[in-house]
């Protein structure tokens, strides 16, 4: 009874804003992907690339950290619905790819967070982990949100 209440409460909460839980996921994932774009741009600036951007100092680092934190928060309701309600599914290629990439997403996220804090690792480790994570997020977005917007509807 309690477990059923959790999923019903989640649905009730989400549909106060969005037309369905699927639409909510599509937009939350889109927000996370956009913030991942901010992550890539600011990370490139931190590494001395994209010199047309204003500076390499504390502001860029702060934007990088907070865009990552907010992106992570946007992924949580998606994780909740996909993992705890829908589960691992393989009815077709799109869903199978989505399930597989999604399974590893938070593992790569955890590895990236650890790599950030470990300064003994090679210099290439962090950008590799970051780009891998961003690529996985884009793959997840393409196999869910983009599919939803192009084959179901583009709207809230």
């Amino acid at each position: 009874m309690l477990i059923a209440d959790v999923s019903e409460t989640y649905t009730d909460l989400v549909t106060t804003v969005f037309s369905s839980t699927i639409a909510a996921k599509a937009w939350f994932a889109t927000a996370a992907v956009l913030l991942a774009g901010v992550q890539i741009v600011t990370a490139a600036r931190i590494y001395g690339r994209l010199s047309f951007l204003p500076e390499r100092g504390a502001t860029i680092a702060r934007v990088h950290r907070w865009s990552g934190r907010i992106a992570f928060l946007f992924t949580l309701p998606v994780f909740f619905h996909c993992v705890t309600i829908l589960g691992f599914q393989t009815p077709d290629t799109r869903v199978a790819i989505h399930s597989l990439v999604g399974t590893f997403f938070y593992g790569v996220f955890a590895a990236k967070v650890l790599i950030v804090r470990d300064h003994s690792l090679p210099r290439w480790a962090l950008p590799t982990a970051g780009l891998t994570l961003a690529s996985m997020l884009v793959a997840l977005w393409v196999t869910s949100s983009l599919w939803y917007f192009t084959t179901v509807r583009f709207g809230f």
Binding site: I3, A4, V6, S7, Y10, T15, S19, S20, T21, I22, A23, F80, H81, C82, V83, T84, I85, L86, G87, F88, S99, G102, T103, F104, F105, Y106, G107, V108, F109, A110, A111, K112, L114, I115, D118, S120, L121, A125, A129, Y148, T151, V152, R153
Partner: protein, 115 residues
């Protein structure tokens, strides 16, 4: 083993935990005992958006060529029959098998009159 393996090991453990959690589907609606295929409301929602919302509107609230379904008090047998046999311009067998059961579960839920 060097410290360099730590992110990979912990990341791997998180991936395994995620997979286990996904297999458990801990918040998926539990299946009642019974013979026929049991529909899943959440999978039904996805399928409804894909196959039915174009005519019946989001959450079956109408707006397309099909009638509104929400809060109309439909019975599971009626929904299943409409999906299997079609009705009006709605073709028969839009979905079958488990997908049909999922859609029936979803449509019955949204057609229940709100209290």
């Amino acid at each position: 083993m060097g410290r360099g393996w730590r992110p990979i090991l912990i990341g791997g453990a998180v991936a395994v935990a995620t997979f286990a959690l996904a297999q458990a589907e801990i918040f998926a609606p539990s299946a009642p005992a019974g013979g026929a295929a049991v529909g899943d409301f959440y999978r039904g929602e996805t399928i409804f958006q894909r196959e039915c919302a174009g005519c019946h509107g989001d959450q079956g609230k109408g707006g397309g060529v099909g009638p509104a379904l929400s809060e109309t008090g439909l019975a599971a047998t009626d929904v299943a029959a409409a999906v299997q046999q079609g009705r009006g311009v709605m073709p028969a067998g839009i979905v079958t098998g488990q997908e049909q059961a999922d859609i029936v579960a979803y449509v019955v839920a949204i057609s229940s009159p709100s209290e």
